[in-house]
Every structure is written in C-alpha cells, then in structure tokens.
C-alpha cells in the first residue's frame, strides 16, 4: 500500500517535471482515480491507452486507469459482477446491444444529465444522427458515443476488373450476378467471405438500408411491448439469397479457427461485408489491391442510412462526487473534435460528431483515404426513419444469439429461410416478453 502510494507520487512528480514548462511543478495533491473498463484489445487497446495517457498528462486532478476486461461480453459481465459486489468502475464501455439492459438497470447515471450537472461543454446536438438516435432516451444521450462503426462492402479491385466490372453494383440483384460471374470464371474461389457479425451487416443493416422494420413500435423505441417482425419483411428474400449463396459456394463460412477477414485479404474471396473498423486490419495486409463501397440495396427501394454498431461509455452509479467530476472531465475530453478526428484516423471508426467529420474533410484526409469516408456518408444518407434509427430491444444479445442459431440451421438447409426466421422471431419474442415483465413500467 505504502509502496504504491510512493510510486504514484513519484510518477506524479515525474509528470509534473515533464509537463512543467515554466510554471511551478504541480503540487503533489492526491489525484482522484477513475476506473475505466473497456473491451479494446490489441492495437485498439494501445490507442485507448494513448488517449488515457493524454488525458492524465493534460491535468493534475484525476488519474484515469484503463483496464481491458476482455471482449464486450466479458466487460458487461465483469461490470455486473463488480456492481453486485459494490466495486463497479466509474466508466465502462458497453456494446450497442446492451443498451436496453444498461438503460433500465438502475445502475447507471445518464451521461447527458451528468455533463449538464457538472457544467461540461459538450454539444449534444453535434453528434451524427444515427449515433445520437441509437443512444438516446427521451431526447437525452444516455451514454457517451465512443467507438461507432457501420458495415461497408470491401472488394478486391483486381478480381472485379478481371471479370469486367469497374466496381460492385449498387443493387443486390446486379451484385449477385457479379459474384456468380467471378466464381464461374474462376477468378476467385468464392464471391464473398461471411463475417462473424453477418447478422448485423447483412441482416439488421439490410433492414435499415432498405427501410424494413425489425420490430413493431418503431423497433422498440415506443415501448417494451414491441415484437420482432423481421420474418414478414423483405429480409426473408435476403436470407433466401444468402442460403443460395452458401449452397452454391458463393459465400464462404470461415468457421472456427480461421478469421473470415483472412479469406478476403488472401484473395480467396472477392468481397467482404464488414465494419468500417476493419480498415485498420485490411490496410496492414499488402497482398491484395482492394477498395470499398456502400452496401447494396434493393432496386425497387430507396436506400436509407445504415445503422451503427460499436460501443459507448456508460457512467455507473454509486460513486463519490469528485469521482464524477473526473469522469465528466474525461468524457468531455473524449468528445473534443480533434481527439475524435485522431481516433477516427488511427482506428477506422467513424467520427461521432459532425464537426469532427468536417475537420477530417478539411484536412484532406478523405482525398488520400477515400474509403474511410464511405461509412459516414452511408450513415448520414437520407433522413432516418423509425426503421433505421436503431434497435431498442431488451435481452437483445440473447435474441441475436437465437437468430444466429436459426440462421445456422438455414445455412445447413435444415430449415427454409421462412422457418428459420419464424423460429428466431418466436424465440426472440419470448425474450422480449420476459424483459417486458421484468421491467414493466420502467420505459
């Protein structure tokens, strides 16, 4: 204990000296510690470390301690366990699927309320629409947008040119013909590699882009008595298409022990539907000439905005006022446009505010990296409808899991697309009712 304290003071003194240009070195006052749990590993984890270091160096009152608690599932689990033991961190990064669970948990402090109370300068109207709408409840942001992405279509330029196409087609029907042509001409072994989060990129986002409802009550925004309805929309056709692709070897399932991205970057598959955050990994692989474009849409429907994925930062209940001061200061720091621009450029996530986007554009960043702009253009396309603003469903990780299981049965031809989606909806609705029962009157 003593030792830690001493080394902390030593560290403080060192920062004081390093930062002390001119003025007296910072007094060794007790810094308030803010725990920040996140799910960013590898390069992303290093970037989070850089942000935290910058914040800690920028002031002398607070020390943010960032800890990687594993993947998103593990972070929410660790948070739950810590909360029950009354040892929750002040700030925690939770994925978009956990929104309703966090919102109604009774364990959080709404971020916008906190920032207003602590008089922090954050322009909440500046967040890009699909981000703001996803994390809003009754007009207020509940958590701080941090890493947001959206799926786009990566493709192998050489293979498309070889097949006589300049780029992937805009519509699913034309795009399908291209993939079959590429495969039948033997240019690539498979047309596309099925990403692990296909339920998000090829199903949920198919529905948002084509303005198809996923559930009733504006995808759950208007009440807990929402029901899934995606078994009655154009999604059925989309799933039938995917099933056909799997059967014809047009789309390859990577399976355990192999990353789907490798199938694309090695040139085996010609396209890859993935999060724009995959940029970081794909750019590092020099083996193929690639580019990216928007998600396809149905020819007879107008393309809407796509929806986001990723995570936000939640502030947990039960801490001291000075700790909330620190948490608010850190969140304010994160929302600054210049930090947003940097984060966007080093990670591939989208800038979450319009100002940050404008700044990146003025820097000429998108002239050098045109594919980095696709995600934000796609997110800002058109006016969000009740079907494209986001997904507010309770028990949503479980419902998604059920959907994935049913999709596996569809891919195995054990169920027809209609049967699979019907079963997923039945299982999902049971979960929704359970959530409604538990949280009656809270939303």
């Amino acid at each position: 204990m003593n030792l830690t304290k001493r080394s902390m003071f030593a560290g403080l003194a060192a920062t004081g000296i390093a930062a002390g240009s001119g003025g007296a070195p910072a007094l060794a006052q007790q810094r308030v510690e803010i725990q920040f749990w996140h799910a960013m590993s590898g390069v992303l984890g290093e970037r989070v470390g850089e942000i935290v270091k910058r914040f800690n160096d920028s002031q002398t009152k607070y020390t943010v301690v960032a800890t990687n608690k594993g993947n998103y599932d593990e972070v929410i689990n660790a948070t739950v366990a810590a909360y029950r033991a009354k040892k929750a961190p002040q700030i925690v990064q939770i994925y978009e699927r956990g929104f309703m669970a966090m919102l109604l948990s009774g364990a959080i402090v709404p971020v916008q309320d906190l920032m207003t109370e602590k008089k922090k300068q954050v322009d909440f109207s500046d967040f890009i629409k699909p981000v703001a709408s996803y994390y809003q409840y009754k007009g207020k942001l509940m958590s701080m947008p941090f890493n947001s992405s959206t799926p786009i279509l990566f493709y192998n330029k050489e293979q498309f040119e070889k097949a006589g196409f300049s780029a992937p087609a805009d519509t699913w029907a034309e795009f399908e013909k291209q993939l079959y042509a590429i495969k039948s001409k033997g240019i690539a072994e498979c047309g596309s590699s099925l990403a692990g989060d296909y339920f998000w990129s090829l199903m949920e986002n198919y529905s948002t882009v084509n303005d198809q409802p996923w559930g009733t009550k504006s995808n759950g925004y208007d009440g807990l008595d929402t029901e899934f309805v995606y078994n009655k929309t154009r999604l059925v056709q989309q799933v039938a298409r995917l099933q056909k692709w799997v059967n014809d070897g047009i789309i390859q399932i990577a399976g355990q022990g192999l990353s789907p991205q490798q199938l694309f970057t090695s040139g085996k598959c010609a396209t890859y539907f993935a999060s724009t955050a995959a940029h970081g990994g794909i750019e590092r692989e020099p083996t193929i000439k690639w580019s990216a474009t928007y998600l396809p849409h149905e020819a007879d429907l107008t393309a809407c905005n796509s929806s986001i994925g990723g995570a936000t930062l939640w502030v947990m209940k039960g801490h001291k006022s000075e700790e909330y001061d620190g948490a608010a200061a850190f969140l304010e720091f994160l929302a600054k446009p210049d930090l947003q621009v940097w984060w966007h450029q080093v990670t591939g996530y989208v800038p979450t505010s319009n100002t940050a986007y404008r700044m990146a554009k003025e820097q000429g960043y998108y002239k050098e990296h045109p594919t980095r702009e696709i995600a934000i253009l796609q997110l800002n396309r058109g006016t969000p409808t009740p079907n494209s603003q986001g997904f507010h469903f309770g028990n949503y990780t479980q419902a998604t899991f059920a959907l994935r299981e049913e999709m596996e049965s569809v891919f195995a031809n054990k169920k027809t697309p209609q049967q699979g989606l019907d079963d997923a909806v039945r299982r999902g609705n049971e979960l929704l009712r359970q959530f409604e029962k538990l949280n009656a009157g809270k939303y």
């Binding site: 669970a101 109604l104 948990s105 355990q256 192999l258 479980q398 049965s409 891919f411 195995a412 169920k415």
Partner: protein, 326 residues
Amino acid sequence: MRASTSLSPAMPGPVAAVPRRRKVASAGGTRGLKRAHFREARLPLLLLLPQLLVLLLFFFLPALRALSQSFVLTDPFGNSVQFVWFDNFRSLLASPEYRASIGVTFWFTLAQNALTIVVSLVLAFATDRILRGRGFYRSIILLPYAIAPVIAGILWAFLFNTAVGPISFVLHGLGIDWDPNRHGIDAFLLVTFAASWKHICYDYIFLIAALLSVPPSLLEAAAVDGAGPLLRFVRISLPMIGPTIFFLVVMNFVYGFFETFAIVDAVTHGGPGGATMILVYKVYIDGFVHIDLGSSAAQSVLMMIFALALTVLQFRYVERNVNYDV
C-alpha cells in the same frame, strides 16, 4: 484394516480374495459400494470433516444458491428481482431448443464415453505387448492430457476447418462432403473426437496400472493352456480390471457432462444450429454471456438432477455386473 471397497483409483481391482466382504454384501443386501465398518462414530466423522467443509463451501453452498436463483427472474444487475415459482423450469422444458440440448448431451456423453474407453483399452492392451520403447510410447499417449482444453479444441478446429484444414482437404479429396460449419453431424463428430482425444490419456493411465496388477501367474497358466494374447486379454485381464473400467465409465461420464465446455467453446460454440449445444455449454451461454441468471440457475439445477439420476442408475445397474472379488 479390513478392506473397505471403494472406487479408489489407485488401488483398482484385484487384491487377494476377501471372503468377509462377500458375506457382508449378501447379508446387508447392499450393492455396489459396500458399507465400511467402524465401531465408533467420532473418529470417522473427524476424519471426514475437512472434506465435508470443502464440499460445503464449493458444492453445497453454490448448489443452494443456484436453487434459490432458479425461482426468480432477475435483471443482470440484480436491481429488480421477481419471484416466479417454477416459470424458469417450465419455460425450459417447453423450449424445443432445451429439449434438443438434452438429446445432444445424451448422445455426446454416450459416444464420447464409448470411444474413450474402447480406444484407451486398445492402447493399454497394445502397450502391454510392446517390449522396446514402452516408456516413450506411454509418454506420447499421455501428452494430450498436458494440453489445455481450449488449445486442444482450437487444434482440432483448425485441422478440420473446411477452408484451410489439412485433414478436411484429405476428406474432400476422398469425396466426403466434410463441413462442420454447416453439417450438424460433422460438428458433433468433431467435438466428440476432440473431447475423447483429450481424455483417452486419463483412462489409459488407469488401465495400464490395472493391467499391471493382473497376477502374471494366471496369465501364464492360461498361456500354458494354449490361450493366445487376445483370448487372455478378453477372458482374464478384462474381467479382472472390471472395477477400474467401471470407475472410468463414471469418470468419463462426469467429464463429458461437465468438463467438455472449453472444447465446445473453442471448436463450435455450440453450433451449427445447436448441433453441439450440450447442457453445460448452454448454462454458460445463458448465464455468463447473456446474464439470464434465473434460467441459467434453473438449468444448473436440472443438470444436477440429471447427473445424480444417471450416477445412481449406473451404480444400480452397471456396477451389479462388476466383480470386485476376483
């Protein structure tokens, strides 16, 4: 000390005949594990105490906790809790997915058990016949036991991966449509093989020890009478190591039921379409990934009941055919 029979792994099988015990068995009518005889109660209780404490802390208290949780519906953070009587159990038993999971677990445990015991018996029998390099051979067979289940799982998943796995290339070359990502049966086989492979060494080492304790005089006598190695194995060694085999069957069953979680997690994640969703993995997914504590607790309770019932059945019907007295 009077031999009190137990399924002691270290001392399987044949000791010299103990006539006294046979008498007890028939007189008391107790089958299987027979009662030990102690005159006074205090010493045995005292000796049992440390183990009972461990059981209390790591089994009874968690089990009670699970039981109490299985009757409530709760949000992850525990801020709203509703007592729902048997709703969690009812919705589990009504769910086709849960019933499918019971079926998968049944076939998986059975297949894994049979495969493990048969292969390790063959290996143990073969080791007995090897004269040169026996130690080396044994070490090789024991190696998988030193590998963490997750690593073992990833190894198998990679070797049999449809797109890049060397073994699946061979299978495809033979015209077999191998695809564990899509075909439930392929995924099931893969998980069964991986789980058995990991556990064969465990069975093997017990069988080797048991085979060593078969009195050579019996085997020699049989050899003089003209019985070949295989016949000697089947007619003499096998019955004599019966208690060990029974012990291993019970252990394999426990292993398949509870400890194969990591392998499933690494190889298939319970897919495709629930084809490898064994009960213990479902408990994990619902409890630790989806944080549905009520349902997960109810599943644990049901699993406990299944495991108890099956163990009792094994002791009643299988152990009847095991002879401890040869």
